[in-house]
């Protein structure tokens, strides 16, 4: 589904990713773990297409198509979803307005009819309730005045509404309390654990992986994948720390 080959990327001339390769097939959940500064968020932003993240070498294909050649909104329309570590506040634009514009923009690209206001609201309410988010929050401006946990929950509500085929979730678990973590984890399972979908889960901690069982765990250090294993690798990391693994690799 997603194939990253020898990816090199830099920010403002500073190399961050140094030959990262990773292949993710349909139906798989991959966790990428690693120390601070390893390049995890850079990987997420490069895949999302953020300005200022320059790819100097390597390729990324999504279902055989060159992903790096697409604008961010085209990637989204192709089925990619980027869950932000720090969701952005947009004053004055309501969640409903934002998500309906997003969903209908994507549907338009796919040649589907736009959803009416009523259809959209029904869908939005269902997803909010699945993630235990107060439906009133849909009327509020995007992430404005939301707590850290509410922002992350809102990311998952958005994912539920947009229903992508491939999700890159950048530290979706950070800032969540234990209950919220379980709700969000179950949300990821419900929305994304399907044979035709896949997830790249970027996380620091084992805890989320107790709820969302990864098929593969990768250790990212120094801009490259230094070790790959099954779900058990996360437990080893939790016990021994990144340093030991990165050094042994």
């Amino acid at each position: 589904m997603l194939k990253i080959d020898n990816l090199h990327a830099e920010i403002g001339g500073t190399p961050i990713l140094k030959g990262l390769s990773l292949e993710i097939g349909a139906g798989e959940i991959h966790a990428v773990m690693g120390p601070n500064g390893a390049g995890k968020s850079t990987l997420a932003y490069v895949l999302g297409g953020r300005d200022g993240y320059e790819v100097t070498q390597g390729s990324v294909t999504y279902n055989g198509i060159d992903l790096l050649d697409m604008a961010p909104h085209e990637r989204a329309a192709a089925g990619l979803f980027l869950g932000f570590q720090y969701p952005v506040e947009i004053p004055g634009v309501s969640n409903v307005q934002f998500l309906r514009s997003a969903l209908n923009a994507q549907r338009k690209v796919r040649g589907e009819e736009p959803l009416s206001g009523a259809e959209f609201l029904k869908l939005a309410r269902e997803q909010a309730s699945a993630l235990k988010m107060d439906a009133e929050m849909l009327k509020r401006a995007v992430n404005v005045g939301f707590s850290g946990g509410e922002k992350k929950r809102n990311e998952m509500v958005q994912m539920g509404i947009i229903d992508p085929t491939f999700a890159i979730l950048d530290e979706t678990d950070s800032g969540l309390d234990i209950d919220a973590l379980r709700t969000v984890g179950q949300g990821i399972n419900t929305i994304m654990r399907k044979p035709d979908k896949a997830v790249l889960l970027i996380t620091h901690y084992q805890r989320l992986l107790d709820v969302v069982k990864p098929d593969f765990v990768h250790v990212l250090a120094g801009g490259r994948i230094v070790k790959t294993g099954g779900a058990e690798l996360a437990l080893v990391l939790e016990e021994q720390g990144y340093e030991a693994i990165a050094e042994a690799a």
């Binding site: 604008a71 979803f81 506040e89 004055g92 634009v93 998500l99 514009s101 923009a105 947009i162």
Partner: protein, 253 residues
């Protein structure tokens, strides 16, 4: 005459706002669009003003408003027309009267657009609230000059001004200047101004959800200028002026 008709607003401080009186001898019509409004004691009046002119070079509208005891007047306006466009409002408030201004300055190319207010709190207990939002592209200049004068007797005056400008290009200019003249000693006069650009992080966030760059900009600008019109109670009137503003924004972005 052309040398005198070159931009009446200059970018240096001293000449930032046009002095229409100085131009009157050579341009008699410039202050011609003057209108007097009186809101009688206890009454409430509302007015929407979209700057329009058959002359592509200049559009000037001057309102002179007297708001009597305990009356309210709300003005919502769009300064958008002509190479040089100006909305000037002189307001005199009676005891306990309220003046509400919501204005948007929407400019592009080499337009010079101004909203100039002169609010005189002449009696005690008057309140005024002015909200101006500017969206400026190209080499446009958008200026707000807000003068608030509080007379010696006008105790308990509460006046506030909020001015925010969004520059779509680095070549555009926004000016904001509060001018407070306060002779009473028990008053509140607040003013705030910001000049900024569209938040890139927000644009990327929207793009990552599939919203096209043009629509993302439109949504953000719409939200930005909406501040100027929230105080318009009449839903139909608010939607009408917002729709007009949106159409102008689409044309200039």
């Amino acid at each position: 005459m052309t040398e005198i008709l070159s931009p009446p607003t200059h970018r240096d401080e001293a000449w930032r706002y046009a002095d229409l009186d100085a131009l009157a001898p050579v341009w008699p019509d410039i202050a011609g669009q003057r209108e007097d409004i009186v809101v009688a004691a206890g009454e409430t009046a509302s007015r929407q003003l979209i700057l329009e002119s058959s002359d592509p070079n200049v559009a000037v509208k001057t309102l002179s408003v007297r708001i009597e005891k305990d009356a309210r007047f709300a003005l919502h306006c769009l300064a958008n027309a002509a190479d040089y466009g100006r909305i000037a409002v002189e307001v005199t408030l009676g005891e306990g009267a309220h003046f509400e201004l919501g204005g948007a300055i929407l400019g592009t190319a080499s337009q010079t657009l101004e909203i100039v207010t002169d609010v005189r709190h002449a009696e005690p207990g008057g309140t005024s609230n002015q909200t101006v939002r500017s969206v400026l592209g190209g080499k446009a200049t958008g200026s707000y000059l807000g003068k608030v004068a509080v007379a010696r007797d006008a105790q308990k005056t509460d006046a506030s001004q909020s001015v925010k400008a969004m520059l779509l290009d680095r070549t555009a200019t926004a000016n904001a200047k509060p001018e407070l003249e306060i002779f009473a000693d028990d008053v509140k006069c607040a003013h705030g101004a910001t000049v900024g650009e569209l938040d890139k992080a927000a644009l990327f966030y929207m793009a990552s959800r599939g919203i096209t760059p043009a629509e993302a900009r439109a949504l953000m600008l719409q939200a930005f200028i909406a501040d100027a019109f929230v105080s318009l109670d009449d839903d139909a009137a608010r939607e009408a002026i917002e729709a007009k503003a949106l159409a102008i924004l689409e044309a200039i972005t």
